[in-house]
Subunit: 391 residues, 2 copies
DNA sequence: TCGGATTTGCCGTCAAGCGCAACAAATGGC
DNA sequence: GCCATTTGTTGCGCTTGACGGCAAATCCGA
């Protein structure tokens, strides 16, 4: 961070930024022709050629023979990120730790879910990562080039040093996972809040592709988290704690709608309440959605409407302040929204400034269970993408 | 906008950005030595010298003989923005239109408040600006170089084209003030919401100097507006409507605290209610503050505490989502906060994520009645500052 | 099947602009 | 009055992206 910004204004800086631009394009847009690269960057053909070959020399991209395109003119070679460039990503949860290797092309290379019969500790997590990585290095990742480790942690993470200040469900407090993982693997590690990484992933590869101002809210079993993208950049705030929508206190218009005195959003709008309404105890998201769809129960409909009303106010507040062009809902919030999108849109429109709602779109998250892994990989790739010559 | 970003990556772009950097520094930091410029920019001495002389040739800065500094070494010439570079700023209000000329050094050169006995129309505003400007051009601004007009409008302004979508108190709807002013003056004009411009001003020259993540809330006679700075940049949102905190619906923990069913923040936390509590009808801010301080009335204290509680929730919501390092309160919100800052801080801390409150500061706005004018000038200067070679 | 149109790669040259180093100038301190 | 220190000044060199001419590879129509 900042290393490139410092170089702004020097020739070296221009060069690095141009390399970065190309690599980012190849990363986000997938394989594309050199001709498209020149068009997208506005750089000269010859410049793009030399930059691309430099990236190829660095082993970061591959130049492949042209794709057969049915157009006039000399075909342009295809530039694609090198498949061997990968990141290790980790997502510790209450009942399992998911570890995966993700390519710079955002594809999952290997993925393993390690079920746990107890709450995993930070040190244990580091060991699991190191062990799995060592195993993979001898097999699937034989000739992979691992650039770093990205961790998606369900808790509040200080961005400066990746210290996990508090992850209530893991029962981690001030856990130095980043340092532990770095020590165990010998790789640079980065840590961030899971919902923020979800926002990042949806912004870059999911429902928020190409959108510069969006709000992302994810409803998980244990609460509501989120992230926001402003001007094309994920907002972290001073210390990186931004996006904790679940702890907000939205206004509740109908007193009867309140369940918890002085409760926060995730007390009122919660997966547990939905499960309870449909009479389930544990269920994955599709099961819950199916149960909701199947239920003709009036109480269920009432609970859904109640949660939508409160969610509508919370979203309205965010819209008034941020004027996003898109709201992305994931997890059970997607289920809640999809159940009656028109009602939610109406609730939002009624609770926010009319002009701020113009052109506003509410969508359901697109990326599935790999969302956090992709977001975490993005985190691990960030340095490389920002400055391909960094190391 | 974007004209420079497009050039990123080219040499020309580097040069322009370097010029911009120097000009911005001179603009924000005031007169500074060339030596300091080299230190701040990280550029080479010789580069800074040539850039500075180029800016001087453009008439944008002045190079003055060194200030007598009691330090060893060859004294460094002082670079200051040229005093003749100025912007015209306009702030139409219900009862008056304020017009001023502001230098690139953020000093007010001339200022005139034109009292109105009726609601001013957009066309009338344009005429007033043109007339005043013509008058000034023959006198105070004889050898000024006016780069543009910035308008601070109390309403929702679409950022694309400066259309005032709705300014309730002026009774403007879809008013093309920008085009009108441009036609009347022959100068490029820019329009924005007044509170956003206040945020901009406080960020750059007031209580938020040097702070990269802040939330600004201003309490006016007619409501609560604001702005937010994220990563050092003022947030506009997709269309520029961001910052409408007054329309938010914060949770209200004690049912008795609610005055308006399903009311918004500015229904509950309002200057009118404060005035009413102290038994005034019209009063300027110091008068109101004095009345509050002088009052030993329990009902007044109760109303203050009530408003602080609700404001605390609204701020808590913003803190959870944005994790700013500073909150700046202006207008009657400053009065409300200053009355018992500890209580407000406690309320905020109780209503937001503990980690997000670490290192959080709540301050009162510093800039006085010139805040909007300075913010509007900033708007008018934006193009020039971003690319000194633009025209 | 062939030639024209079109698009793009490739190569050599050019030039803009920043860094660098050596020197000069201006100041404070002993 | 001399030395150390800081900084302006000057000329040079180098990096790197732009540019233009030419060749290559494709599509299309005859």
């Amino acid at each position: 961070m900042g290393t490139v910004a410092d170089r702004t204004g020097t020739f070296d800086g221009v060069h690095r930024r141009n390399l970065s631009k190309l690599l980012v394009l190849a990363h986000l847009e997938g394989p594309l022709s050199r001709a498209r690269l020149t068009a997208e960057t506005g750089l000269n053909r010859s410049t793009v050629a030399s930059l691309a070959s430099e990236l190829a020399d660095l082993g970061l991209v591959e130049e492949r023979p042209p794709d057969p395109t049915n157009r006039v003119g000399r075909p342009s070679p295809v530039v694609a990120v090198h498949p061997s460039v990968q990141a290790i990503v980790v997502n510790p949860e209450v009942d399992a730790v998911t570890i995966a290797a993700v390519g710079l092309n955002a594809r999952i290379v290997v993925r393993e879910r390690l079920e746990m019969d107890h709450l995993v500790t930070p040190a244990e997590t580091a060991d699991l990562v190191a062990g799995t990585l060592a195993r993979w290095r001898a097999t699937e990742l034989r000739d992979a080039r691992i650039v770093g480790v990205g961790l998606a942690v369900p808790g509040q993470v200080r961005s400066d040093d990746g210290l996990v200040r508090w992850a209530p469900h893991l029962e981690w407090t001030d856990a130095p996972v980043r340092a532990l993982v770095e020590a165990a693997t010998g790789l640079p590690a980065v840590v961030a809040n899971d919902a923020s990484l979800g926002a990042r992933a949806e912004h870059l590869f999911g429902a928020g592709r190409g959108v510069d101002d969006l709000v992302y809210l994810n409803g998980g079993a244990s609460g509501i988290g989120g992230g926001l993208v402003v001007g094309g950049r994920l907002v972290g705030g001073t210390r990186g704690y931004a996006g904790e929508f679940g702890q907000n206190r939205p206004g509740i218009a109908r007193p009867d709608d309140r369940r918890v005195p002085d409760g926060v959003l995730e007390d009122e709008v919660s997966r547990a309440r939905l499960l309870q309404a449909v009479g389930l105890t544990h269920a994955d998201e599709p099961t819950l959605a199916a149960a909701i769809a199947a239920s003709g129960d009036r109480a269920v409909a009432e609970e859904l409407a109640r949660q939508q009303r409160i969610l509508g106010t919370a979203l309205g507040n965010a819209i008034n302040v941020l004027n996003p062009s898109l709201i992305v809902l994931g997890g059970f919030l997607a289920t809640l929204a999809a159940h009656d999108m028109d009602a939610l849109e109406a609730a939002v429109a009624a609770q926010s400034l009319p002009v701020a709602c113009e052109g506003l779109d509410i969508r359901v998250a697109e990326l599935g269970e790999n969302r956090l892994l992709i977001g975490a990989a993005e985190l691990a790739f960030a340095r490389l993408l920002a400055d391909p010559l960094a190391d």
